[in-house]
């Protein structure tokens, strides 16, 4: 230890490939987040639903997603389904596993958001003649999303970091590309440092952006 010599040139030459990998990372986490949010709304409502079947399905999804490792979920999507002759590409396996994971986690967050809104509001909207759908669309959901905005950004950051597990099934994300590039030259430390910085820049940018957006969107109110 202590006598390590850094070689940066080889990393510099590989930078375009790493950036390509970073793009895949952003891509898969953003998409998994968007799909996850949509499903999570239904899961949260499902868990609070009176109908037993809906409640059970939502509960199973949420429990499985929250209480098993993401690594395992990705493996299941790739090799688990593979045993049943359903072959997803590495990208689709990671995407579906992350959607599963995000939806499960966000559902619990959203449930908290829904429950923080007094039930009288729904009753009031209904008595004004709104359909249930309209009441959710115009009264409940906007308030709910405002309250869970910050936990949602955290989840996004998590998705970016967890997508690095895509390396397990050979996805060409930032981690996968880094792993491949370092094996050519064995400058492991240099490549991993640069990859870590790229992850940091991505997540930090998202946090700053979301902070800016929340300031613009939610003026003079909670959150």
């Amino acid at each position: 230890m202590g006598d390590y010599q850094f070689h940066w040139l080889v990393v510099q030459q590989a930078l375009p490939q790493m950036l390509k990998g970073a793009w895949v990372t952003l891509h898969v986490s953003l998409l998994s987040m968007l799909l996850g949010i949509i499903i999570a709304v239904f899961l949260a409502l499902g868990k609070m639903s009176e109908r037993k079947a809906v409640k059970i399905i939502s509960n199973i999804w949420i429990e499985a997603a929250r209480n098993t490792p993401v690594l395992f979920q990705i493996y299941m999507a790739y090799f688990g389904l593979g045993a049943l002759n359903i072959h997803l590409s590495p990208y689709l396996s990671v995407l579906s596993a992350l959607v599963f994971f995000n939806a499960g986690y966000l559902a619990e967050t959203f449930r908290g958001g829904f429950q923080s809104i007094p039930p009288t509001q729904l009753a009031a909207s209904r008595s004004l003649g709104m359909t249930r759908l309209k009441a959710y669309r115009y009264v409940i959901l906007p308030q709910m999303f405002r309250r869970v905005y910050h936990p949602m950004t955290n989840q996004f950051v998590w998705s970016i970091l967890l997508s690095s597990l895509g390396i397990l099934v050979g996805m060409n994300d930032l981690s996968g590309e880094t792993q491949r590039l370092q094996s050519l030259s064995y400058r492991t430390l240099e490549f991993f440092i640069v990859a870590a910085v790229m992850y940091y820049v991505m997540t930090k940018t998202i946090l700053l952006l979301s902070g800016w957006v929340s300031k613009k969107m939610f003026t003079g109110d909670i959150s």
Partner: protein, 275 residues
């Protein structure tokens, strides 16, 4: 305050002396003094390294670790690594030496110290018997896979890029085992691996419908033992060890044990010639 100052000086001196004495002894001294050789292998690559029934790493590379420790008169501590762990384990001092079928490219030799070659592999294709693959160019329009970060992956890319095949048909796997699982499940049509590993896999009943196909053109995979690049005396010792493995007949013995036949004379000759 005085006591504190003396204490501080004492601590600084201990650090200085400690640093001084550790930098003057080299790896060879360290291993002999410690009485233990921390030897890294990749137990994901039969018959060079794999796990036996008792989940202990065994194989050709492990036996070389034992031979090396035996020659030095120390105990062998065999450490299982993934392909990607090999260099970090040397740099962090977790291993003293890695006998892990490491291809001796000049690019890698900028980062890590290589011994003379100790084995030569061929890269080959394994696929279902029904796939009808006769030559390497038949891989053009089918799904190909290999383990991530291996030399055969790099060689395949080189060939495929030169022929303009593109990479959309290619899948990489985190480990050799996962790659074979992918082939078995039908995620890929052909897998690129080494001739030795393929021969081992074909002997199992899971792969009875598979066959070894064409070799990757124009490439012999020559592998060396690796150690930290600046440990020149240590690498010298390892080189002499390899010379003795051939001279004392250990190479032949180990080869017979793991491959069932005497070591081919062209393998021994090319190792003698260091190529």
């Amino acid at each position: 305050m005085k006591v504190l100052k003396r204490l501080l000086i004492a601590i600084v001196m201990v650090f200085f002396l400690g640093g001084f004495s550790s930098s003057s002894a080299d790896k060879l001294d360290d291993v002999i003094k410690a009485g233990v050789l921390n030897c890294g292998v990749v137990a994901d690559f039969p018959p060079m390294g794999y796990f036996d029934k008792d989940n202990k790493p065994v194989g050709f590379d492990c036996d070389y670790c034992l031979d090396l420790a035996g020659a030095m008169g120390v105990k062998a501590n065999i450490i299982n690594l993934t392909w990607g762990d090999r260099i970090p384990s040397l740099i962090s001092g977790k291993t003293d030496v890695v006998i892990g079928s490491t291809s001796d490219t000049l690019e890698r030799a900028k980062s890590v110290g290589f011994t003379y070659p100790y084995f030569v592999f061929k890269f080959q294709v394994i696929s279902k018997k029904s796939s009808g693959i006769k030559k390497f160019d038949d891989l053009k329009n089918i799904k190909v896979g290999a383990a991530l970060g291996t030399t055969y992956e790099t060689e395949y890319f080189k060939y495929a890029d030169a022929k303009g095949w593109g990479r959309s048909n290619y899948t990489s796997f985190k480990s050799e085992n996962d790659a074979y699982l992918g082939l078995y499940q039908g995620k890929i049509d052909v897998l690129i691996s080494t001739n030795t590993n393929i021969a081992t896999k074909l002997a199992t009943k899971e792969f009875k419908d598979y066959e070894a196909g064409p070799f990757v053109p124009n490439y012999d995979d020559v592998v060396g033992i690796i150690a930290k690049r600046n440990e020149v005396a240590w690498i010298d010792y390892l080189n002499l060890f390899l010379v003795h493995q051939i001279r004392d007949g250990n190479l032949d013995k180990r080869y017979k044990k793991h491959f069932g036949t005497p070591a081919p004379s062209e393998l021994i000759q090319s190792l003698r010639d260091n190529k």
